[in-house]
């Protein structure tokens, strides 16, 4: 019996509803964007085709490069902290019983708060005069000021993001861990495996699928982050925490009109697409030590 998946073109029937749903929501708007990106919309009646001019302007923008670098740094920092922390959290959460339910609910709370409220809370939270965190840090002797110091601002935004989104990684990993049949742990016990060996040879491989989703999701979402840092620091001090999304909005609202904004959007999208594509392939190849299902997962 082969472990390779059988070819079945009729499987397309199962996929069509999904394609329709997403295409309806995606392709039409996207077409509009592409349309705008190659035009100069001087006024609703006067549109001039300008080809790739907006793209060239956008790509040559020095401030854009800075924002992009800032964004990359932020996203990498986010991944570096949230992924291991999420895994560790998932491993520490109880597997069953009332404690499991309680922990699940508490962990999930931060995900449910609207993002502008998240930013607002941390805004007060971090103030040294009226906020618990700020006062505590000041009390410990730190010269903490997230509005004045770029480093403090960065760290605050990062910690806020970690607080906000690590539960996503943890929940995915937790569900993934629960999906591992008991027999694997029993077999490992019988084989005399150490706790570390259990993690390395059973848990981590079986989490591969779920971790890939977590990494791609967190990368994407952190790359598009807008509301929370905007509310917390407004992009400051200066433009220390002005990430890519905020830069786009600033330009679109302030200086650009629809044409360049659309072009920027496409470039933005392509950057994320390229990075995710690279990440995805790298993760597929790095983990070709497959889990039970990996040889069944579609490879790019």
């Amino acid at each position: 019996m082969s472990t390779l998946k059988p070819v079945n073109q009729k499987a397309w029937l199962l996929v069509i509803p999904v394609v329709l749903c997403v295409a309806f929501s995606a392709i039409l708007p996207l077409m509009t964007i592409v349309n705008y990106s190659v035009q100069d919309i001087i006024s609703p009646e006067r549109r001039v085709f300008v080809g790739t001019e907006w793209f060239r302007t956008v790509l040559r923008d020095g401030e854009l490069h800075d924002a992009l670098l800032r964004q990359l740094g932020f996203s990498l920092a986010v991944l570096a902290v949230e992924i291991p922390l999420g895994i560790l959290l998932a491993l520490s959460m109880p597997a069953k019983g009332w404690k499991a339910s309680a922990v699940l609910v508490v962990i999930a709370l931060s995900l449910l708060i609207p993002w502008n409220v998240v930013g607002t809370i941390w805004q007060i939270f971090g103030r040294t005069d009226i906020g618990l965190l700020g006062a505590a840090l000041a009390g410990l002797g730190f010269d903490y000021n997230y509005t004045g110091s770029a480093v403090d601002a960065w760290v605050t935004v990062l910690v806020m993001d970690v607080w906000h989104w690590t539960p996503l990684v943890a929940l995915l990993c937790y569900a993934g861990l629960r999906a591992i049949p008991d027999a694997y742990y029993q077999a490992a016990q019988i084989d005399g495996a150490s706790r570390l060996a259990v993690f390395r040879y059973i848990q981590l491989p079986k989490l591969r699928g779920v971790l890939m989703i977590a990494v791609l999701l967190r990368f994407m979402d952190s790359f598009m982050i807008y509301t929370e840092p905007f509310v917390l620091t407004g992009g400051g001090p200066g433009n220390a925490t002005t990430f890519l999304s905020q830069y786009l909005t600033q330009k679109a609202v302030g200086q650009f009109d629809l044409g360049p904004a659309a072009a920027f959007s496409i470039v933005y999208f392509l950057i994320i697409l390229l990075m995710c594509f690279v990440l995805y392939n790298w993760m597929q190849r790095a983990g070709t030590a497959g889990s039970a299902g990996s040889e069944d997962m579609p490879h790019a």
Binding site: Q186, A187, I190, D191, G192, A193, S194, A289, S291
Partner: protein, 368 residues
């Protein structure tokens, strides 16, 4: 290789009151060193619970287990040195076949040269030598189960190998191959093997002794022959055999067996006759293989109405109804030879029921 002595019962409830609260009713049994045993029974009968008690994955709420006289009730599976093969293949996906087999030895700190030797030997035994360097995750289910088995065999001092319905996900045409391989291994290594299954064919072909279980109770233990010939309980009579044993309600009257007004006098030992006489009603059990067509004037034969006669190939399966002491007519199945070829539905035939294979049951338990 070890002798395993059980004297236990298990309940998942903290304070069991009645029989229903027990997953395993009190059982005292010894698995001899080197024997091949099967735990046979329908779903939920407690066979997996029993297996897990033996392996140490579950601690029985009452009683003890001893390996070679040593009390292991509190010991972990590792300490008991058992190996277990699960219902679906459990392998370490990131490792090669060879690394999988070597894993239990490496964890115990065995020297690399010895590891290589053992792995090689076991791989050869299981026809896995060619795949030693391949990723274990890419193999088919039966190969993966062999790897699971191999991880147990590779440990020289393994006390017993336990199987929990291991052929469930194997292709039907590969099942017999694996069963044969298991028998070979038993022959070669003389390990204590305990095999859980709900499939009587698997149990009866694999094991020397079969423990038939129902609702937490070990109903009968014996060889395939014993279970077939003298089932100790109507449940065993019904469960073993394809189709199972036929049962007819009967009563004892004036020194003879009475079924639906007709009287029969089979040969019975005196104590059996006394027991049947003392009981209110009892059951006559006879296997389809031991029913015979008789002549119409045979006083020892029962009248039966044919419902259906099927040509199975190697025999004819005749289904008939018989009036017995119970209210409705009882369904009776017989495996007959070509003499059954001409039978038509509705026809009346005479079945010879009483012979030396016939069993008698009072309150579901074998009396004679």
């Amino acid at each position: 290789m070890a002798r395993i002595d059980l004297d236990l019962s298990h309940s998942y409830r903290p304070d069991p009151q009645s029989d229903e609260d027990y997953a395993l009713l009190p059982l005292k049994f010894t698995f001899e060193d080197g024997g091949a045993y099967a735990l046979l029974g329908p779903s939920g009968c407690g066979k997996t619970t029993l297996l897990n008690c033996i392996s140490g994955l579950l601690r029985p709420s009452h009683g003890t287990i001893a390996f070679d006289g040593r009390d292991v009730t509190a010991a972990t599976p590792q300490a008991r040195n058992i190996a277990q093969v699960f219902q679906f293949p459990v392998i370490y996906d990131t490792m090669t076949v060879g690394e999988n087999l070597a894993f239990p030895l490496r964890n115990r700190g065995v020297a690399p040269a010895q590891v290589r030797q053992r792995v090689g030997r076991v791989a050869e035994m299981l026809d896995l030598s060619a795949s030693l360097d391949r990723r274990a995750s890419g193999l088919a289910a039966d190969a993966k189960q062999k790897i699971s088995l191999g991880r147990g065999l590779v440990r020289q001092d393994v006390s017993a190998i336990l199987f929990d319905e291991p052929l469930t996900v194997i292709d039907p045409h590969l099942k017999w191959q694996l069963r044969r391989k298991l028998k070979e291994i038993h022959h070669e290594f003389r390990l204590t093997l305990i095999y859980v299954t709900h499939d009587q064919t698997e149990a009866l072909t694999f094991a020397e002794q079969v423990l038939v279980m129902s609702r937490g109770k070990a109903v009968q233990v014996g060889s395939a022959d014993a279970l077939f010939e003298r089932p100790a309980h109507t449940f065993v009579g019904n469960f073993i055999g394809s189709p199972g044993m036929n049962f007819l309600d009967a009563q004892w009257r004036d020194g003879a067996i009475e079924i639906a007004g007709r009287r029969y006098m089979p040969e019975l030992a005196a104590p059996a006759a006394v027991a049947l006489g003392a009981a209110g009603g009892f059951k006559v059990g006879v296997r389809p293989e031991y029913l015979r067509l008789a002549a119409g004037n045979d006083p020892q034969a029962l009248p039966a109405r044919v419902e259906r006669a099927q040509d199975i190939g190697t025999y004819w399966l005749v289904t008939a109804t018989v009036q017995d002491a119970g209210g409705a007519p009882a369904l009776v199945r017989a495996r007959l030879g070509n003499e059954a070829a001409g039978l038509a539905p509705g026809q009346t035939v005479w079945l010879s029921v009483f012979n030396r294979h016939t069993c008698y049951y009072v309150n579901e338990e074998l009396v004679a």
